[in-house]
Symmetry: C2
Subunit: 224 residues, 2 copies
């Protein structure tokens, strides 16, 4: 018999496509903070009916990317310093937990992967390829997540990272800090490789704090 498995993952409901599309638009800033999300308009633009749009908005609401006002509708959640601080405060302890779990589960082959990613990051930094730096940075953190064996944690970190992205796109353009990323990642890799939980947590927290500082600088600059 031929292996003709009907791939169930193949079918993606419109609501999920709309959800991802809108989320992407919010994260990239295509939809600006405060901008209203009008169902009919979005439906027309996306070529679907209101139903999938509404369902997508419900999810965005729970993710905190849009704010609902009863009978008025949804608007893109504002970004501000308080929000950023809150998210990073949480992300810091969750990334730290991820590192702790990574220390417990790490295998030699994982370390190889970490180092490969970091080599690519270094390369990207040399060539000043910002897109690539971002991509590899994400890949690095994902690689850590993947060995935590805590699916819910991974999901939550994904979610938080998307929020950060709303800010980070600006920050990453600031090339001043690009050199330190590689070094910071190196320290984290070493700590995890040697299963040094304390050091790993310390380094990842510092790593996030560095980010925080740069992003806040950018925010303040923009406000001026």
């Amino acid at each position: 018999m031929v292996n003709l498995k009907v791939n169930y993952d193949e079918y993606i409901p419109l609501r999920d496509i709309v959800f991802k599309t809108l989320r992407e638009a919010i994260i990239t800033g295509d939809l600006k903070p405060g901008e209203r999300l009008m169902e009919i308009k979005l439906a027309n633009e996306l070529g679907v009916s209101r139903t999938p749009v509404r369902e997508a908005i419900r999810k965005l609401e729970l993710e905190g990317l849009v704010i609902m006002t009863a009978r008025k509708g949804a608007e893109v959640a504002p970004i501000n310093e308080k929000d950023l601080r809150e998210v990073l405060e949480i992300r810091k302890v969750l990334e730290s937990l991820a590192c702790e779990l990574a220390c417990k589960n790490v295998q030699p082959e994982n370390v190889v992967v970490f180092e490969e990613i970091n080599a690519k990051t270094e390369e990207a930094v040399k060539n000043e390829r910002i897109e690539e730096i971002t991509k590899q940075d994400v890949a690095f953190h994902e690689a850590i997540y993947s060995i935590t064996k805590n699916d819910r944690l991974v999901q939550m970190l994904h979610n938080l990272k998307e929020h950060i992205f709303r800010y980070r796109l600006e920050y990453i353009k600031d090339m001043k800090n690009k050199g330190t990323i590689v070094e910071e990642h190196k320290k984290i890799i070493d700590a995890i490789a040697s299963k040094n939980v304390r050091a790993a947590c310390k380094e990842i927290e510092r790593h996030i704090e560095v980010q925080e500082k740069y992003i806040l600088n950018t925010l303040i600059k923009e406000a001026k």
Copy 2:
């Protein structure tokens, strides 16, 4: 002029009512793990149309309380040891963060509130009033959250706690551990009152670990 503020919070969309109703039903076990959530059936039972039911399900999906299968529908997420461990692992670090922030922000009057709640808990334990113990336990943790000044953290902890509730209802009935709650809370209060971050974190983590142990015991017993 008369103060006739039209309370905007007064109006609650059906989808939110349905959402809360279904969530409650899942948490209390009224809707059992694995049970299918059929839209028409639920709509009829609740006396609404499918639309608000669907939107509520979308939110439950993102909260992880229901699992979607494309074109088949939603079913109540199963509860199992892995899920519980994952949630508690996360909750531990987030509660710990909450305590850390509480240490930073705590005022004398907050401590008074903590102690009042714990006195009520002790009273409830004496009278073996399980409902009341649960209520006061929740109030205690909420009281800590309320001084963290991190709204997103509070929201996430709320969410996690609801998941735990699916398990805890069983565990709290096990009266063996009821005595220790008051002591544990006392230690946490003292640590926060003296702004001893390290001790507060240690105690809250231990507090959650105790819970975890009891819940897991209950789960294993039930599996038999």
